[in-house]
Amino acid sequence: MSVLLVAEISGSQISIDATSKALAAVSSLGPVTILAAGEGVDPAPLAALAGVDKVLHVEGADYGHQMPEAYAKLLQSLAPNYTHIAAPATTSAKASFPRLAALLDVMVITDVIAVDSADTFQRPIYAGNAIQTVTSTDAIKVMTIRTAGFDAVADGGAASIEVIDAAEAVDSSRWVEDRVVTSDRPELTSAGVVVSGGRGVGSEESFAIISALADTLGGAVGASRAAVDSGFAANDMQVGQTGKVVAPDLYIACGISGAIQHLAGMKDSKVIVAINSDSEAPIFQVADYGLVADLFDAVPALTEQLK
C-alpha cells in the first residue's frame, strides 16, 4: 500500500496545518508521498513533516490557481503508483477529487473523519446528524479528509524532493481572479480560538464587539448562516455545514441559537461557550459553559475582563 497526499497550496502558499492533519489521518495506510503542486512553491516545509516518504514537486499556474481540470489530469497520471489518493477537504480538493475519481472510474469518499482500515472509512452525512461507515471495493481509494478532528504531525522528517513534469494543459477553463479577504487574524479553520456571532448580533456594525473579543484572545471571527444571510458577516466567515467546519480549543458562540446546520460546523470544538439571551436556545445543549445574558452587555464585559 502507498499513499499520495495532495498538499493544500494556493499560489505559492502551503497550508501546512491542513496538510499535516490530513497526513496524520492517512499515515497508517502506508508510506506517504506528498504532492506539492503550485506556482513558486518551496516544498521544504512539506519534506520536513514527520513520516513523509517523498515529496513530488510540480510547478504550474493552473495548479497554483487550483484549477480542477488540470489538477485531476495531473493526479490521474500519478494514480497508478498508489492505493490511496488523499487531500484535506478544502474547496480545492472538493472540486478536483470527484473529477479525479470519475477519471479513474472509482467512487470518491469525501469528508472522511476516521480511517478504520485500508478500505473502511467514517464520514458524516445529513449535516453531521449521522455518521456512516463505508467500505470501498475500488482498487484506488480517492478521498478527502475533514481535518478538524486530527492533530497535526510534528516536524522532524527529511524526505527527498523530486521535481516532476506538469501534465498536459487543459483549456476548458481559465482563472480570472481571486477575491480574497485579507486579515491579520488567524485562519478560521486552524485558529485555536473562534468567536462567532449569530443573528442576535443584529447588524454589521455590531459585529465589532465579536471581533474585539476575538482579537483579545488572538482568535478568528466566525458567523452563523443566519448572520451571513442577514448581511452582518461575509460568507467566508460562515461556520456550519454550508460553511467551514472548525474544531478550536475554545469556541464562543454569541447570539447564535444553535441550528443543526451550525452545530455540524463546530460541535467538535474542545470547549464551547454560549452567550445568548434566550435560555431555551439549542446552543446551550452543546455548550460546556452557558451564559444567559444580553450579548451586548456580556461580550464587551468578557473582553474587558480578559484583556
Binding site: 474547496t91 470519475a102 481559465r174
Partner: protein, 252 residues
C-alpha cells in the same frame, strides 16, 4: 441555448433525521421529502436565464424511485419546460452513488446535447459534493463548483465561486457544468396556476437499465449511527464566573 438541470429528492431540510434501529441507514419511510435545496437553486437559475432570453429550454432530470416524479413536478411548476424520470431503485433507502448518477446523466447529456448543465453543489442527504464534478470528467467538460454568480457571454460561462479564502472567478468554455451554492439566488415559490399547468407538461419516464449503465455501488455501508453526544455543560451566572471557568479549563 438548452440547459439541463439534474435534481434529487431528499429528506426535507426541516425534518430531524433519525437513524434506523438496524443502523443500515437513516429512516426515510413516511418522512417528508422535498427537492434538494441546492438543486432548487439550480432550477431557479436556469429559469432566470430563460426569462432573460439567454436560454431557450430548461430540461430537468432525476434519478431514483418512482416517487421522485414529485420533485420533477416541483421544477416544472417553477418554470422548467419538460422532465425526465430515470427509475433506478424500488426502495427509497437505496441511494444511487454519485458515480452511477454521473454515468446516467452523461448518457442523458449525450442525447439532449445541452449547452449548460446546472446542478446543486451537493445533496443534503449523503453530503458527497461529487456528482457535478464527476459528470464534468465523464463528458470532458470544464466545471465550476459552488457558484454564487453566473454570467453567460459568447459561449463562455463566467462563474464566481465560493472558495475557502473568499471568492474565485473563472471562465469555463461551454458546454460546461456549473454547480450552485446557496447565495446564487433565492428560489421562487410556484404559484397555484403554475402548479396546475405543470401537470400538463411532458414528463418522460425511463429506467437506468435502458441506458445500459452499471449502477452497482462501489461503497458498502457498514453502519449508520448517531454522532457521539456532548456531555451536558453548566450554566454560569455571570461574566466573572465564566472567566474563572475558562481559566480553570486552561483555554484563556
Amino acid at each position: 441555448m438548452k440547459i439541463l438541470v439534474p435534481v434529487k429528492r431528499v429528506i426535507d431540510y426541516n425534518v430531524k433525521v433519525r437513524v434506523k434501529a438496524d443502523e443500515s441507514s437513516v429512516e426515510l419511510a413516511n418522512v417528508k421529502m422535498s427537492i434538494n435545496p441546492f438543486d432548487e437553486i439550480a432550477v431557479e437559475e436556469a429559469i432566470r436565464l430563460k426569462e432573460k432570453g439567454v436560454a431557450s429550454e430548461v430540461v430537468v432530470v432525476t434519478i431514483g424511485v418512482k416517487k421522485s416524479e414529485d420533485v420533477l413536478r416541483t421544477a416544472l411548476a417553477m418554470g422548467a419546460d419538460r422532465a425526465i424520470l430515470i427509475e433506478a431503485a424500488d426502495d427509497v433507502h437505496t441511494d444511487i452513488e454519485p458515480l452511477a448518477v454521473a454515468k446516467l446523466l452523461a448518457k442523458v447529456a449525450e442525447a439532449e446535447t445541452p449547452d449548460l448543465i446546472l446542478a446543486g453543489k451537493q445533496a443534503i442527504d449523503n453530503d458527497m459534493n461529487a456528482t457535478g464534478q464527476m459528470l464534468g470528467a465523464l463528458l470532458g467538460w470544464g466545471q465550476a463548483t459552488s457558484a454564487s454568480a453566473l454570467e453567460i457571454t459568447d459561449g463562455v460561462a463566467r462563474v464566481t465561486r465560493e472558495v475557502d479564502g473568499g471568492l474565485q472567478v473563472v471562465d469555463v468554455n461551454m458546454p460546461a457544468i456549473v454547480t450552485c451554492d446557496l447565495r446564487l439566488n433565492e428560489p421562487r415559490y410556484a404559484s397555484l396556476p403554475n402548479i396546475m399547468k405543470a401537470k400538463k407538461k411532458s414528463l418522460a419516464a425511463t429506467t437506468a437499465a435502458e441506458y445500459g449503465v452499471d449502477i452497482t455501488p462501489r461503497l458498502t455501508v457498514v453502519k449508520t449511527v448517531e454522532p457521539a453526544a456532548r456531555a451536558a455543560g453548566e450554566i454560569v451566572g455571570s461574566v466573572e464566573e465564566l472567566k474563572a471557568k475558562l481559566k480553570e479549563a486552561g483555554v484563556v
